[in-house]
Amino acid sequence: MLEIKDLHVEVDGKPILRGLSLSVKAGEVHAIMGPNGSGKSTLAHVLAGRDGYQVTAGSIRYQGHDLLELAPEDRAREGLFLAFQYPVEIPGVSNMYFLKAALNAKRVHRGETEVDAFEFLKIARDRAKVLEIDDSMLKRALNEGFSGGEKKRNEIFQMLMLDPLLAILDETDSGLDIDALQVVSRGVNTLRSPENAVIVITHYQRLLNHIVPDFTHVLYNGRIVKSGDKGLALELEERGYGWVEQEFAA
């Protein structure tokens, strides 16, 4: 589904990712862990198509496309979803209006008919229940004045509405209490299927108790320096990132 080869990315001439390779197949859950500043969000942003990153070498193939050739909206319509580490507040645009536009953009792209307000509401209510989201949140302006936890929950809600093939969660767990963590995990686990893949970016192991990964990777200094199974996450939790830094210091 996703094949990243030897990816080099710079921001304003400063190298951030330095030869990152990663292969994700349908049905898999990958965890990417790493200390702050190692390049996790950079990877997520490059995958989603954000401006300001220069890819100086390497390639990304996604579902048979050269991902880097696609506009952000086309990536999303092709089933790629990024749950933002810092979701953006957009005053004046209602959550519902926004999501309906997003859902319909994807449906039109796939040659499906648009959903009307009534159908949309039905789907939205159904998904909101999974995440214990109140209806009133749909009417509010997108993320405006939402608490940290509400924003994260809203990201996962959007994910369930858009039903992506490849979901990338960038530190969705940070700032969540244990209850919220469980609710969010339930949401992600709802999505898991043989057709879908998930990349869980996290700093801590605890999320991985709920969303159990098939593979765990350690990102350090812009490279994946170690890969393993879910056991690697536990090892990191126990030993901290210090040993990674010692072992792989540039």
Binding site: D51, A71, A76, L82, I90, F98
Partner: protein, 436 residues
């Protein structure tokens, strides 16, 4: 020099007055207005500070005819020309003219009268003294004087004491011409007696194959404790210039609220003046200007706090793209004994590309010492983070930009005070954005 251009307008005004069918006191007020227009001439940019950013000379040079029939009277065509602004309970005015039957056929509740000046001047002599005679004597804007001298059908709306109009009254002014340049002088007088309530929508629309000039004047008298919601929605044809003058006079405890929305036209100049004449009077002047292509929109507002304890709020927003120009000059005048005045002014602008022009200026003239007066202005661009967030969800770039622009503009629309209207205006705005 200017006299070269005024001659034509003066002749037209004389003819309009000769056929006005109005009693003597109206005729003399209009003759005075004409005299003063003649003396002032059209405003010149270099000599007149208030017109510094707007050059009207190329406009007034055009050989406008004031007796041109609007291209159509077919209801479906009018509906189309009105771009969604031909709302329920609407009176259609074409090139400043309105049929008596159209006026009479509006079903208005008891206590509400809507008439043409030519049919009912004597009945309204009491208010016409202020609305015409004093106006002709004191108004300094040449366009407003020209309107007074040259209008065809002035409309008078009166709401009696204690009466509340439950539905908005909508006057739709169509300007346009099939072939020859045409000018219209729409005139509306709204008089709301003590403790009455009304929402009045004026929509300025039209379709034209030739250059047009709409030169509108609206005067609103807000009685003690009366509440008036006044919407001025301008979506004229691309060849039409729009000059408007709105004066509101607010008595004690009265509330005047105006939403000025500019969507169309070529050269647009709005003068909005509110006089808070009684204690505890308040006004809200909100504006939204959507400017694109080579449109030039100049909004001049003046709020005059003449007595103590007045409140005024002002939110003017502008969205400017292409090579558009937007001017805002917001005057707040506080008389020496108008203590405890509370005035707030905010002007926020969104530029959608390079190459636009913005001039924003607060003009504070405060002569009382115990007042609160705040003002602020911003000029910004669409938020790149927000844009990416929307696109990352599959929303196309153009739609994402429209969504954020709509969100910026809706603040004004949502503040219009009437939910149904806010929804209609919101749709109107979407229509505007989708046309771009």
């Amino acid at each position: 020099m200017t006299s070269d251009f005024t001659g034509r307008y003066i002749d037209q005004a004389r003819r309009a007055q000769a056929t006005s069918g109005a009693p003597g006191f109206v005729a003399s007020a209009r003759a005075l207005a004409l005299q003063r227009f003649e003396a002032l001439g059209f405003p010149q940019r270099r000599k007149n500070e208030a017109w510094k950013y707007t050059n009207v000379l190329p406009l007034v040079k055009v050989d406008f005819d004031d007796d041109v029939a609007y291209p159509t009277s077919d209801p479906t065509a009018l509906e189309r020309h009105a771009r969604g602004l031909l709302w329920a309970k609407a009176l259609v005015v074409t090139n400043g003219r309105v049929d008596r039957e159209r006026v009479d056929s509006l079903k208005l509740p008891a206590g509400v009268r809507l008439e043409r000046l030519r049919d009912a001047a004597d009945a309204h002599a009491d208010v016409l003294e202020a609305a015409l005679s004093r106006f002709a004597d004191q108004e300094t804007n040449p366009f407003a004087l020209l309107n007074t001298a040259a209008f065809h059908d002035a409309l008078i709306l009166r709401v009696a004491k204690g009466v509340a109009l439950d539905e908005p009254l909508c006057v739709v002014h169509f300007s346009g011409s099939q072939r020859d340049p045409s000018i219209a002088h729409p005139r509306l007088l709204v008089v709301c007696d003590e403790s009455s309530e009304a929402t009045v929508i004026e929509a300025f629309v039209g379709h034209s194959e030739a250059p047009c000039l709409t030169n509108a004047v609206s005067e609103v008298f807000v009685g003690a404790n009366a509440t008036i919601n006044h919407l001025h929605v301008q979506w004229e044809a691309p060849q039409t210039a729009h000059v408007s003058t709105t004066n509101a006079y607010v008595r004690r405890d009265g509330r005047y609220r105006q939403q000025l929305i500019n969507l169309g036209g070529s050269l647009v100049r709005n003068n909005v003046r509110t006089l808070l004449q009684g204690e505890n009077a308040e006004c809200t002047l909100n504006g939204l200007s959507m400017v694109r292509g080579t449109q030039h929109v100049d909004n001049q507002t003046s709020i005059e706090h003449l007595v103590p304890n007045g409140n005024s709020w002002q939110l003017y927003k502008g969205v400017v793209s292409d090579q558009g120009t937007l001017v805002f000059n917001g005057r707040i005048f506080v008389e020496k004994d108008a203590q405890k005045t509370d005035a707030k002014q905010q002007n926020n602008n969104l530029l959608l590309n390079e190459g636009t022009t913005i001039n924003s200026k607060p003009q504070l003239e405060i002569f009382a010492d115990d007042v609160k007066c705040t003002h602020g202005a911003t000029v910004g661009r669409l938020d790149a983070e927000g844009l990416f967030y929307l696109r990352a969800r599959g929303i196309g770039e153009a739609e994402a930009r429209n969504m954020l622009t709509h969100a910026f503009a809706s603040e004004v629309i949502d503040a219009c005070g009437v939910d149904d209207l806010a929804e209609l205006l919101s749709e109107t705005l979407r229509g505007w954005l989708n046309e771009g």
